[in-house]
Each structure stands twice: as structure tokens, then as C-alpha cells.
């Protein structure tokens, strides 16, 4: 009996070890190295806080972060507002067979890479693009209008690329909502807004917060969409990190920015959870 147990342990170890090594060597170790880099001076390797101070002293850096975080919050909010009715429609209104088909319709675009989807939007929206061609030919526009390269297009692109990550968790919690609650509210004469405010949204809160965290982090960390669709005015914070590491070879500064992004975004989520009186333990349950 004893012997047998020991052998199972060896087998377990054999399959467990690669995973641990993978995580440690390829994920934990590089992060520790980056953390060390972020606290040292380029070239000399001496300990310094300059890399972190540069973020606060140089307005361009923290302004970029504020802008990025601000837009991420706006995008998250818009995604929430759109996802609620969409999820409600899919999980409560249509028949089960159709709701499956609708779910697949939401999922399918995500089988294609983000880059391709963004290029798709660019083909639609550019000055010599499909939408402009259509509007000019039906006489709505006199001449083509450039729809790319502004903040509104960029927000739209970000909302589109992160939609799925809100809809799925919200549908998950909405399925649990007992229909009879809504029926009872109607019977007692509640208005539609009252039903949404007092029954549906509170019930979906955990799904919304769950999706909100994912969407916020995704948007904050996205690189492609702001860069390609935002064009000439959109400096996203991830681009600063890329620039520091790849273009200016300043790994120390880039590493410090990376950790600042991690710390500040976690802080923002913590503050938002506190403000909305949500409990992280409840959310992940």
C-alpha cells in the first residue's frame, strides 16, 4: 500500500514538474528580472527610483496613463450598457434554440484574430472605404468623410472587440434569474425601469462586475485597436511601454511602466469595487 502510493507520487511529479518549471522559468523568473530592472539605472545597474519617478515627473507619461484609464472606464461602461439588453434578449426573450444560435453569432467573430477584425473595420470606415462609397452613392454625403483616426472610432472599436467578455458572464447570471420575479413585478404594476433597476441589474451585479474587470483590463492593455484605429492622436499607455522597450532600448523604464500599469490598474479596480460596494470574493465565487 505504502509502496504503491509512492509510485503514484513519482508519476504525479513527472507530469506536475513541467508545469511548475514552465510557470517558474518562463513567467515568474522573467517578471522578477523585470522588477529588478525597473529599480536599476540603465547601463550602470545601480539601484534607483528614477524610472518610477519619471512617470510622475514627466507630464506626458502620467497624462497618457490618465487618458488611457479614462477611456478604458468609458469603454467598460458602454460595454455594460449595451450588454445588458443583449444578454436579456438572448437569455430571456428568444427560444432556447435561437438563443444558442445567437450566442454562436457573438462568438464567431472572436475566432478571427483581433488584427484581422480591426483591419475589417478600417476597410469599412476609411475615406475610400465601403461605408463612404455607399453613402456617397445614395447621395447622403456629398463627398467621402474620413471616419477613421479619431477617438470615437477608437472607442467603438474597443467596445466591439471586448463585447464578448461582458455578454458571456452576464448571460451566465441572467439565466439564474427566476422569471416569476419579473412576472410578479409586472402583476404588481411595476414600471419597466423599476424592474430593471430593482430586479434585473442587482441580480446581474456579480456578472457585470466580473465582465467589467475583464473588459477594463483588456482595454487598458490593448495595443492594436487604439494604435490602428485611433491614428495620429491616440497615444495609449501600452504603446509607451512598447516604445521604451523596443524603440529606445530603455528596458528599465519600460519595466517600471509595466509594473506601474499593473499596480495602477489594480488600484483603479479596487477603488471602483469599493465605490460600487462590491466584494471581490463574492464576484469570483
Amino acid at each position: 500500500m505504502m509502496k504503491n502510493r509512492r509510485h503514484i507520487k513519482w508519476g504525479f511529479l513527472f507530469f506536475f514538474l513541467p508545469v511548475v518549471l514552465w510557470l517558474f522559468l518562463l513567467i515568474v523568473l522573467p517578471h522578477l528580472e523585470l522588477l529588478r530592472l525597473s529599480f536599476t539605472k540603465a547601463n550602470t545597474g545601480k539601484f534607483t527610483l528614477d524610472n518610477y519617478l519619471a512617470f510622475f515627473n514627466e507630464p506626458i507619461y502620467w497624462l497618457t496613463f490618465v487618458r488611457t484609464a479614462g477611456y478604458s472606464i468609458i469603454v467598460t461602461f458602454i460595454v455594460m450598457v449595451i450588454s445588458l439588453p443583449v444578454s436579456f434578449y438572448i437569455s430571456k426573450i428568444v427560444k432556447e434554440r435561437i438563443s444558442g444560435a445567437l450566442m454562436i453569432l457573438i462568438l464567431v467573430p472572436f475566432w478571427v484574430s483581433e488584427l484581422i477584425r480591426v483591419y475589417g473595420w478600417m476597410i469599412l470606415l476609411r475615406e475610400s472605404g465601403i461605408l463612404n462609397h455607399f453613402f456617397v452613392s445614395i447621395g447622403l454625403f456629398k463627398e467621402p468623410v474620413e471616419m477613421l483616426y479619431n477617438d470615437i472610432t477608437m472607442i467603438m472599436g474597443l467596445v466591439y472587440t471586448s463585447m464578448l467578455f461582458m455578454v458571456v458572464p452576464v448571460i451566465g447570471v441572467m439565466d439564474d434569474l427566476d422569471n416569476s420575479l419579473i412576472e410578479a413585478a409586472y402583476d404588481l404594476g411595476a414600471s419597466k425601469t423599476a424592474i430593471w433597476r430593482t430586479i434585473i441589474i442587482p441580480h446581474c451585479a456579480s456578472g457585470l462586475v466580473n465582465g467589467g474587470i475583464i473588459v477594463f483590463m483588456l482595454v487598458l492593455g490593448s495595443y492594436l485597436t487604439p494604435n490602428l484605429m485611433g491614428g495620429k492622436n491616440s497615444l495609449w499607455f501600452t504603446e509607451q511601454i512598447y516604445n521604451q522597450i523596443i524603440l529606445y532600448f530603455n528596458w528599465n523604464q519600460g519595466a517600471a511602466f509595466g509594473f506601474l500599469l499593473l499596480a495602477l490598474s489594480s488600484l483603479i479596480i479596487w477603488v471602483l469595487l469599493k465605490l460600487t460596494k462590491q466584494n471581490l470574493k463574492e464576484v469570483v465565487k
Partner: protein, 359 residues
């Protein structure tokens, strides 16, 4: 039973790992190159493999990534690299990612002597040089002459007349080209960081003020070609290849060298510090600079080559491009990029970030 299965599984996995190792050692030596897209055409690679027996593995990249990748491995992972000549000496000093070239192993007869001398001088570190010239080119203007007839120099890209019809890269060449065009000599200021910062601050003001003219800052070649082809953009700062390619489709569009001088670059061969196949690397350098092979490359990609006699093998229309766009008086007026001193790029980076973030 369980035990037997387990032991068998472990043996198979270990065995396959060891076997793969053993077979790798007996395989033909491979030459691993990190280079720019188009620099290693498949036809030439096949010919090289046929002549020498070395197989070639190509990784496509650009200057910044080349340095970052080689820096991450401390000069390993590749046997040959093709950085621009101005991006060699400072990274050799800082990170030691390249090794000196043994010019005795290079067939210098077939290389343009002035280019070779210039590159040797520019990549000199501690009495040793680190590169062999391969390809040269310029950055100037690609203009749709029917729509933007007055664009003659970099500074004309700021003209409000062409609002929303102009595109350039938000990279260092733009700062430098604009600088020359507005009467500065940025290269002379390299050695004086204070004066260079003052110059950059000026450029920041000018480029932010010129932002309304810009449609978008392009950052890949296809994006640029597409917007010029569709006539969404009338004038752009770009390489001669983009201009010549579009000229063949639309005669109104062509490359012109700015009156203040085009910016000239030279891409080179440099050998990473931990190159594992020096013989193949030198063989490849000599092979690519043979006149016939160099001409094949130039006919295909329309970049100028450092191979001296390649001109004898060029197609007539390619030759016509060079005589139209880069005649001797234009070549004499080129501002060649000197080596970038450490720290300069960081200063430029901050300026570029500020320009991009400005409203």
C-alpha cells in the same frame, strides 16, 4: 501494470527528446539570418544552398527589433544580422552584441569602395569595424504631382494648403528631415545634447502646429501605399521604393528627393557575437554581393546595392528609376545618417511621444 505503463511513457518522452537532439547534430549546418523583408529572396537562398550546401533560416525584422532580440540573447540565436550602419557602434559599445568583421574573409573587390570605407568608419569601435555594406536607400518624398504640385521639400508637408492630405512616420527620420529642411543641421548637433534638445523642442512645436495637415502617421509600408494609391494622401515622406512602385501604376505619383537633401541609409551585414556558423555567414555575405546576385535583388526589390558591378545586370526600367529619382547630383546631396550617440534616441523618443499625444 500501472508502473510499467508509467515507465514506458517516461522512456518514450525522454527517448524522443534525446533522439531529436542527436539527429539535430548530424543535420546540415544551418545559417540563421535576421534581416529585413525582401532582403533574402527565395531564389537566391536556393542558389546559395545549391552552391555551398548551407541551409538558410530567415527571420524578418527591423532595426529596433533586431537590437532588442540580440540584446535579450546577448548576441545569440542568429548567425548573421542586417542592421543599418548607424545602429551598430553604439550597441556594440553598450551591449557587445556583434563581433568584429574579418575583412580578409570578405571579397572586397566586388564592393563599392566609397560605401565600404564609409561603413567601416561609421562602425569603428576600438580600432575594429563591425559591418559590410549591402543595401542603400534614401528617404525623401512621394508626391502626387497632379494634386500636390508644390511639395518640394520636407517642410512643405506642413503647408495648411494640404490639410488632411499629408502623411509621414512619427519616427526619428521625420525630425531630422524636417530639421534639415528648416535650416538646421541635426547631425552636427548630435554631439551636443543641450543644443540637440533645443532643436528637438523647436521641432516639437513645429510638428504639433503642423498636425492638422496630417491624415495619419503611417507606420507600415502597405498602409502608406494604400493611402497614396487611393489618393486619400497626396504627399508623404517615404522611401524611393514606394514612389517607384506607385509610379508604375499612376505616372502622377513619383519619388522626389527633397531640395534640402534626401536622408540616406545603408543596411549592412553584421555578425552577432555568438554566431555559431561563421563560415556560412562569410560565404553568404560574399554570395549576396556577387554582381549577378546583387542585381537580381535590386531588380526585384528596387533597392540600391553596394555591389560595384551589379549595374551591368540591371533591367532597363529599374535603371530608369535610378536615373530619374537618384541621379548623381541628388546622390551627392544626400544627408547620410551618422552613428547615433547613446541617449539621443531617448530624447527623440520623448519628443515624438509628446507630438503624438498633443491634440
Amino acid at each position: 501494470m500501472k508502473k510499467v505503463v508509467l515507465v514506458l511513457m517516461v522512456l518514450t518522452i525522454l527517448g524522443s527528446v534525446l533522439f531529436a537532439q542527436a539527429s539535430a547534430e548530424t543535420k546540415n549546418p544551418v545559417l540563421r539570418i535576421i534581416t529585413w523583408s525582401g532582403y533574402a529572396p527565395q531564389e537566391l537562398l536556393d542558389k546559395f544552398t545549391e552552391q555551398t550546401g548551407y541551409k538558410v533560416e530567415v527571420t524578418l525584422s527591423n532595426n529596433e527589433e533586431m537590437i532588442s532580440k540580440l540584446r535579450a540573447t546577448r548576441g545569440g540565436g542568429f548567425d548573421l544580422a542586417q542592421p543599418s550602419q548607424d545602429r551598430i557602434s553604439s550597441v556594440v559599445e553598450q551591449y557587445a552584441i556583434y563581433q568584429p568583421i574579418d575583412y580578409a574573409r570578405i571579397n572586397t573587390e566586388q564592393i563599392d569602395a566609397s560605401l565600404l570605407e564609409a561603413v567601416k568608419k561609421n562602425t569603428l569601435v576600438d580600432g575594429k569595424s563591425y559591418a559590410v555594406p549591402h543595401v542603400y536607400g534614401t528617404e525623401g518624398l512621394v508626391v502626387n504631382k497632379a494634386l500636390a504640385p508644390d511639395v518640394k521639400d520636407f517642410k512643405d508637408l506642413l503647408d495648411p494648403k494640404y490639410a488632411g492630405r499629408v502623411s509621414y512616420r512619427l519616427k526619428r527620420p521625420t525630425l531630422i528631415g524636417m530639421g534639415f529642411s528648416l535650416g538646421y543641421d541635426p547631425f552636427a548637433l548630435y554631439s551636443d545634447p543641450v543644443a540637440y534638445q533645443k532643436f528637438l523642442d523647436e521641432m516639437e512645436k513645429i510638428l504639433i502646429a503642423g498636425k492638422p495637415s496630417v491624415k495619419t502617421y503611417w507606420d507600415n509600408g502597405d498602409q502608406l501605399l494604400q493611402s497614396l494609391r487611393s489618393e486619400e494622401v497626396w504627399a508623404a515622406s517615404a522611401w524611393e521604393q514606394a514612389g517607384w512602385k506607385l509610379h508604375a501604376e499612376n505616372p502622377n505619383i513619383d519619388y522626389i528627393a527633397p531640395t534640402s537633401g534626401a536622408l540616406g541609409w545603408v543596411d549592412t551585414f553584421a555578425i552577432p557575437a555568438k554566431s555559431e556558423n561563421l563560415d556560412a555567414a562569410y560565404a553568404y555575405i560574399n554570395f549576396m554581393l556577387e554582381p549577378e546576385n546583387a542585381a537580381f535583388f535590386t531588380n526585384r526589390e528596387t533597392y540600391g546595392t553596394a555591389s560595384k558591378d551589379a549595374v551591368n545586370y540591371l533591367d532597363p526600367e529599374i535603371k530608369a528609376n535610378f536615373t530619374r529619382g537618384l541621379p548623381p547630383e541628388v546622390l551627392a546631396n544626400i544627408n547620410w545618417y551618422p552613428t547615433v550617440p547613446a541617449g539621443i534616441e531617448e530624447m527623440e523618443g520623448k519628443t515624438l511621444d509628446k507630438i503624438k499625444a498633443a491634440r
